[in-house]
Symmetry: C2
Subunit: 759 residues, 2 copies
């Protein structure tokens, strides 16, 4: 791609101040809970105290008599939604199950499951009324682990659920919602030919994305059937489609306005409150605002799956991998749809592996229905695979980077799930790690070093963009992707690059579902890549129009005009063309009204998901042998960004992913009691890392251009959470001599490992 | 234009419920004063008690000590703006004068002229603080009439103002800001050859547009230099450009969000409060809301010019017009820029007139600076010209319709201002009037009938539109024109027509200056014509894309696919094409993501202003001979719409224009005392017609297609206010036998005329 390698970028790759920065710092930015309307009511949700129970009856009479209560809603007030499939980013969103998750019908399936909702004149009054709703339950035995779910005598969550999948399943109803199988080569012969085999059963608990901003929305259902929803979401078009589907409204009647978003990480790619707020608004004829408490966010939104992964790798004595086998059991929570699919796809594809067998099971349990969490499924898969690669290197006495380089997938290698990799940067990333000072730095006492790799596909999907230039020569770029990780800055930079003007002259706009063209949800690390493609295409149309205006002014053919350094220039001018000096953008825009009117262009794309990005993390830990307390003391993220549009944001994504992964490795887990009640539904008890817990995380941006993007952009948001679980575990293995198969590495657990080594 | 005449419209020409109707009826629609922000302050303006004075000093110290006062602003806090020209719809917006009108510097030029502004914690507190500002004035003699302004010893408002114009002017400073002259043929010989000459001096007072919603805005100037303005305006892009120019800000930093608008009629095509609110917000670091009182609207916004028109027409005895002469003196108010230009252009162009001389003077007086008011200048010109045509018909004993038909301009006739008319519908409109039952209906006692014609150019100018289709087959059309007269409905209808889907499936969006492509101000009756062109073009691009998707699905050439009745159809299908049944829009959109992604298109236009529309009004009045009270008892508007997109709105425009014109004819006028203080600055004393004052106004839509628009659309909003002044005056002439040359026709004035006839 000559454009990628020869191009001298002027704007892309710089680090301007973020366009949304000042508003966020000064508190002006408006988040999900920051909208209000005249006559607004407040809504609250009554949630199940049982993890598994049948609903016998709901009596709302007392609650409805409370002054200030305007409407009460149960599942009976909502349409009975048939099963069906909508959208495509939220893994396996079955429509009927989405509706049942939003408001329980007949059965509650987790502690915190919505049972009824109230709208009242204040939030407090609405919550008070919830407490006065009398629900009679018939408690059922809860299913709280994968092993229990798969046991022959396990209670069945969904009696009538037909499992899906590629492989045969047992007769009759089970808690298995989906069964996946990918096979290649001859795995038995592979292992038979292996000189070394490493294996283990790895377990990770449910964890939450921990976004700072709770779910919040404001719905306004009007007399003419039109509905407007203001909410914090990664996907306004998704909210529109899903809400319409759940309420059986015409999508044409629904407009969704995305607020600023205080974190999502995949957790805001589905809906919880929106249909309830709309239904309450319709019932009362007044706008209804709903805001979750932190406890509700933990109990009733979608965490990442708890997982159990059995994995085995076989290699020749020279280190060549020849066989791999894995079984992934992923908790789906109450309804089908875990990220086991991506775990199956990513687990072995980073390496050349001729013989493999990978099974995946999506298993329902009486816990909240999971939602995507940054590179969903891949961190768990990498925890297992990269721990085993580490074991293999130790067994063979090989440098873990060299061993990975020896087996690393390259352009042209086939993935375990079928497609062949295009140009990828795994080897370059590994080579960068090998050369990094961190890798050779000495370690202190009780310290250990781990390394791990990880990767993510980076989605393509649908995006639109509209670009225009104003009379003053400034430009506007409009897309429909909420800015969760710097997309305003990256869209502005790409627009500025194509127009060859300073980025400060470009205003990036995130529009509502009526204002802008369709964009799939911000997620899958797709936005800068896919929406960026639409932006570049629309801007190039604008540049073509600008050239045409110059050609008109100069009375020459369009082909005689080029666009250079923010100006139209005449190619191959003759000696009598001295009046045809370069026409800068602002000169052309000032004359727009005389040369045909405003300049505006729209473009849309649906590019393939074929921009995989690889990362490698180096982690140093210090483990206190007396207490088992583990501290990360040095951490380096090396990742292929393809092309870093705004390097500071890219580094921030690297650091954020590493921080979340370290939390997952060391501290975070959903703790349920034996009745399935979440015991740590708050940030005091669910311990995420804070700044004082972590060292400054170093970053190195590798740039191996993605051939599908004119600048080479891949995605950067997700890969960075894939390696940390294994990188930390490998470092703790290095420090303690003990291989941990279960996360998080809490002090008692680490101490127990240290004890075992000492014995 | 075969497209215009052969086309069978399915959506265009129907009367769907207006998309904005329910929100407006239920009070949900948000107007200029309906926005609020956290920490918001309120701003108020101190206004001059003198019509003409020098400002000696301003002492703000006492006011600034009032608790709750956060900032005080005078002209010294604003940049000294040099003269210059911005934009183009507000007639003669000189930048320096616009700034001086917004906040007086050194001199006040009318009673109500802004002198200082305060922001405080409440509107009441801000107004209280204004009263505490001590201003020392040196009063000057006010200039309150055209005659006084032109007198040799008149005080001069602007000592250093250089007059503009086409014709020589006296040496030294005068109150004449502009002098226009259009001549054709040999006017002296024309009159010499005339068999009949009619003439008169006609006078009309200042009148106000009387929009229900006062000017209001909310400005938020942020720490990073960005400014957001919410306001009621006809032109958000105009507000952005003008505010940036007056404050010398970078337009790139300003975003303007148009609220719903409660009437404008041309009065909201300029700015008054916005720069003050922005400057106060910048000074305080807090959002500032400013809302005018009704009194402020009357005193300090832009009414229509008071005018004095001397006019003479000469005709042969067979009725053929052969000479015309006119002098238009228009009050500009305090600063240059009246609509005398349009008066000069429209006065005689409706008729074939071989010899003419038309002079126009733009004259400054100590009254508020005028602003456009619906067909600015044309009603005054038509009042004179159509009164004289009526006199001519009476003198010659001719039917007034026949006389007009005999002289009516037709396609190919040259206007007095230069261009040649294209296809116009004046004759058709006259013929429709001749055939209308009203024209032949008997009159009662004390009743009289008048008829008058009028016309308006209908502007072109710049517009953009972006159209997309959603997965559910619905569509969105986005423009930047505030909906002052039904443009949401007309844009949706044109989009629906091109897509061949029900209009209910189209959502029209009016965006802010960042959300949508550039659109010139809603005004000049340009929106449905010019913005409609952009909408049709963008929708046609969408249809082309839909056809391409169908071609992809069917694996045929694009040319083999047509778009019919909301579906792609295969042309000249072969017998084995039976699977290629019509693909309806919603089938194609459901497959969009598989055929290339979202479908969106943008288009922009800058068409010529060449869609003139003619109207003829028939008015019956009943005059009480004892009191002089005149009532309109029957009224019919016949007007060429070119093509009525939404006939109900077209009829509404016809009726609204007629009602305003009747008010102008019978009741409305600015009444100043001898010091230049407006004495009737409120709706109790400034008497606009209300529903009970008027009969139901009948309407007839004539459709002579405009060749420049694919459906034939002209504009409809302005022509309808042009004939009423003369129609009413001619009817009163018919009832009383007296020719009135001065408006309004108040009972004392009418009584005086009746007395004169009796004498």
């Amino acid at each position: 791609m000559s454009e990628q390698t020869d191009r001298k970028f002027k704007q892309v790759g710089t680090r301007p101040i973020r366009p949304d920065g000042v508003d966020k710092v000064t508190g002006r930015a408006r988040y999900g809970a920051d909208a209000s309307l005249p006559r607004m009511l407040h809504g609250a949700v009554l949630r199940s105290p049982y993890a598994h129970a049948r609903i016998v009856s709901i009596d709302t009479s007392k609650a409805s008599e409370l002054p200030g209560v305007k409407a009460i809603l149960t599942a009976d007030d909502l349409p009975q939604v048939e099963t069906g499939w909508v959208g495509d980013i939220a893994y396996g969103s079955d429509l009927g199950e989405m509706a049942a998750n939003i408001m329980a019908r007949r059965k509650v399936l987790y502690h915190g499951h919505a049972v009824a909702a109230v709208s009242a004149t204040s939030d407090e009054r609405a919550r008070e009324a919830c407490e006065m709703i009398e629900v009679e339950y018939e408690p059922l035995e809860p299913v709280l682990s994968i092993d229990h779910a798969l046991a022959p005598d396990a209670p069945i969550l969904h009696e009538h659920q037909a499992p899906m999948g590629d492989a045969p399943l047992p007769e009759g109803p089970t808690n298995i919602a989906r069964h996946l199988l990918d096979e290649g080569g001859d795995v038995a012969r592979g292992f038979a030919e292996a000189d070394v085999i490493v294996e283990g059963v790895f377990e990770t608990p449910m964890t939450h994305q921990g976004y700072i901003e709770p779910h919040a929305c404001l719905a306004d259902a009007r007399e003419d059937g039109k509905v407007e929803i203001w909410c914090s979401t990664q996907g306004p078009f998704m909210v529109k489609e899903y809400t319409a589907a759940v309420l059986q409204y015409d999508p044409n009647d629904i407009k969704v306005v995305p607020s600023e978003i205080g974190g999502g990480f995949g957790g805001k790619t589905t809906i919880y409150l929106e249909p309830i707020a709309v239904a309450l608004s319709r019932k009362t004829g007044r706008p209804v605002k709903m805001v979750m408490t932190r406890e509700e966010v933990f109990r009733a939104t979608g965490p990442a799956s708890g997982t159990k992964i059995g994995m085995k790798l076989g290699a020749r004595s020279d280190g060549t991998l020849i066989a791999g086998e894995a079984r992934f059991d992923f908790e789906a929570g109450a309804y089908r749809g875990s990220a086991v699919t991506a775990a199956v796809m990513t687990a072995f594809s980073a390496y050349r592996l001729p013989n493999f067998r990978i099974e995946g099971f999506d298993i329902v349990v009486n816990k909240p229905k999971v939602a995507p969490y940054r590179a969903p499924g891949a961190p768990n898969a990498a925890f297992a695979a990269e721990s085993l690669i580490d074991d293999l290197a130790r067994t063979l006495g090989r440098d873990p980077i060299e061993l990975r380089l020896q087996n690393a997938s390259r352009e042209g290698d086939r993935t375990t799930y079928g497609p062949v990799f295009g140009r990828i940067g795994f080897s370059e990333t590994l080579e960068t790690a090998r050369a990094h000072p961190h890798w050779k730095a000495p370690l202190g006492k009780h310290q250990g070093r781990g390394i791990a790799s990880g990767w993510w596909f980076n989605a393509g999907m649908q995006s639109s963009a509209t670009v225009s230039v104003d009379e003053d020569g400034s430009a506007v770029v409009r897309t429909g992707n909420p800015d969760i990780g710097g997309s305003r800055a990256s869209m502005a930079l790409m627009t500025a690059e194509e127009l060859a003007i300073p980025v400060e002259r470009v205003r990036p706009v995130v529009g509502d579902t009526d204002s802008v063209g369709y964009c799939d949800t911000t997620g899958g690390s797709r936005t800068t890549y896919a929406t960026g493609l639409a932006v570049i295409e629309a801007t190039r149309q604008v540049v073509a129009d600008l050239r045409a205006r110059a050609a008109t002014i100069w009375d020459v053919e369009l082909d005689a005009v080029a666009w250079r350094e923010g100006a139209a220039v005449l190619l191959n001018g003759r000696s009598d063309d001295s009046d045809k000096t370069p026409l800068p953008l602002e000169e052309l825009t000032r004359q727009m009204r005389l040369t045909g009117g405003p300049i505006i262009a729209s473009a849309s794309v649906n590019p393939p998901a074929a921009a995989p990005a690889f990362g490698i993390h180096i982690c140093d830990v210090e483990v206190d042998p007396e207490t088992g307390v583990t501290r990360v003391v040095r951490y380096t993220v090396i990742q292929d960004a393809g092309k870093a549009i705004h390097p500071t944001y890219v580094e921030g994504q690297f650091q954020g992913g590493a921080a979340q992964g370290i939390g997952w490795a060391l501290n975070e887990e959903y703790l349920f009691d034996e009745q399935g009640r979440l015991e740590n539904a708050g940030f005091l008890d669910y311990r995420m890392p804070v700044a004082s817990d972590l060292p400054m995380i170093d970053t190195v941006i590798v740039e191996v251009p993605n051939p599908l993007h004119p600048y080479g952009v891949r995605g950067v948001g997700e890969t960075s959470i894939v390696p940390p679980l294994a990188a930390v575990a490998n470092a703790v293995r290095d420090a303690t001599g003990f291989r941990f198969h279960r996360l998080p590495l809490t002090p008692p657990r680490v101490l127990e490992g240290i004890e075992q080594v000492r014995r």
